[in-house]
Symmetry: C2
């Protein structure tokens, strides 16, 4: 395999600093989903933990390194899950966290960030405005900026999911990974391509937030002026060149899915698997729904990466009034 | 501690024959639930596996022993979860399974039992009628009858949850356990009372299906003529004397909760923890809701024991049309 920025020995070493509550998450076949999808489906469930997403795998590494360095403060931009994870990891270690988020971010995510004791700063505009503001705070205050997907800890944390996927004899053909900033896809993809190269790595992004997928397809950075998707966790406009470079090494494909497929995926997951998921976590199922022929007879794993949804919005999407 | 029918060494040994996919399930603090409940709450999640309940811990032991003995067939009565679990455990070992269930059982549970390859026989009447019929089949056909809660494997399987609860330094004061036939409560309770005797074991049953709780309270078998609860997994009328004897040793309390509290518990779990659960799995939360003063400031663990619900019924309970 061509090199990426990641190193499997470092990823293994990271396992020692991540709270076990975030590790060895359930991986199981979900046959009740299969008639609707036409392929074998396994779930890698990243929501049964105190912050309901995979992001703490990375923030545990960050917070541990900050503590080792004697740093006391860190700032990040977040659509909501990274901020919760960083706040959780920092709280136990006495670190100060500032999270910058768009005012329009999912309210329950913002509530949880506050409840976990972080300072929350809201900005007008979208996630890219939050990224700018977080960078400015880091410069002005001279504190560590945690940049999702750019900073290796975030990719290494996600990559520990890959180690768990290949720990058994992989019986699956394909892993479907939500694509946002790229940490999850490059992290998991790196481990799969190094340790189980026959397994196909497919990234899935909403049609309404296609920047990194378009970039992967054109092998150069493509930005968009806006995003338009309910999948708040993956709605970026400015891909990071170093992340794209890694993604070009590890991804076998990157596909875009429609909003109605994301909602159909959320509905299938709750009705047939009993799983409440946030829109980003339904992207893999959405990809199968949009291209059943491609997956027919195969065995896919979909990483259910988060379940932080507003109850109200969730009901509107999944169980509209009849 | 007084003796029960269980033996911790046997329970430990059972870990070797249970498919790891059912073991080491998530145990995590869920702070988002806490403002509504007034106490610290941790979830022991038994639903993230191929059959969406804890029951396979026991059926793995049963199926393994049947295989060792050269037995090829087994029959059980089930409200739906035991039958799924036994069908799953038997399928991989080439055993023939007959499941007897009430015609009125939860349809999705019956569908899954069929999908897993078991022979399903439906009877008129309730779960007690299914128990009678299963016993008759076993007698007539000369095959093994698996009786939930009476047969030690079912209690030992459940007891492995107890081992996982005490594996760390328990930080909780109380474990809330759904009470049906009694396997879950006596199994988990046995391990807790032996290894962490300071932890309070509270059993929770619906007011509409109170037989075993009344029996515990009166220290003698009390039966009821009917049951009336949405918690299909715990709706028995004829407690088993040997199970009551064990329960009298290991339970610190047994309480009854109203249907509206069960529904409120299901709603809290989905809205604040993102967990779809079947009614039986919300009994612990219901108990806290009914007696906040008792639990104020304490740290409770609730065993989320199953998530097999009909999507339609679930929506009717949890998100009634507004």
């Amino acid at each position: 395999m061509q090199k990426t920025r990641l190193d499997t020995a470092r990823i293994r070493a990271a396992l020692r600093v991540i709270d076990p509550i975030f590790l060895d998450t359930p991986l199981y076949r979900c046959e009740a989903l299969e008639p609707a999808l036409g392929c074998a489906v396994s779930i890698k469930l990243e929501t049964a933990n105190p912050i309901r997403s995979f992001k703490a795998r990375g923030t545990e590494i960050v917070a541990s390194r900050l503590t080792d360095l004697g740093d006391r403060s860190v700032v990040c931009a977040s659509a909501g899950n990274l901020g919760q994870a960083l706040a959780w990891s920092a709280r136990g270690r006495g670190l100060e966290v500032t999270v910058v988020a768009a005012r329009s971010a999912t309210p329950v995510k913002l509530d949880r960030i506050r409840a976990l004791g972080a300072t929350l700063e809201l900005v007008d505009g979208d996630h890219e405005a939050a990224r700018e503001r977080a960078a400015a705070i880091a410069r002005n205050d001279g504190i560590r900026l945690l940049e999702d997907s750019l900073d290796l800890e975030t990719c290494e944390g996600a990559a520990t999911i890959g180690l768990e996927l290949v720990a058994g004899e992989p019986s699956f053909d394909t892993v479907l990974i939500a694509l946002g900033g790229g940490a999850l896809a490059t992290g998991v993809g790196h481990v799969l391509k190094e340790m189980a190269p026959g397994v196909e790595v497919i990234c899935v992004q909403p049609l309404g937030a296609p920047a990194l997928t378009r970039s992967w397809q054109q092998r150069r950075i493509v930005t968009t002026d806006t995003t338009d998707t309910i999948a708040d966790g993956v709605a970026g406009r400015f891909p990071i060149p170093a992340v794209l470079a890694d993604l070009l090494v590890v991804a076998d494909d990157a596909v875009l899915v429609r909003e109605e497929s994301i909602i159909a995926g959320m509905r299938l997951l709750v009705d047939h698997a009993g799983l409440v998921v946030e829109p980003s976590a339904a992207l893999g199922i959405a990809a199968v729904l949009e291209d059943r022929d491609r997956f027919a007879g195969r065995h896919v794993v979909t990483v259910v990466c988060g379940s932080n949804v507003d109850a109200e919005a969730y009901r509107r999407w999944v169980a509209p009034p009849r």
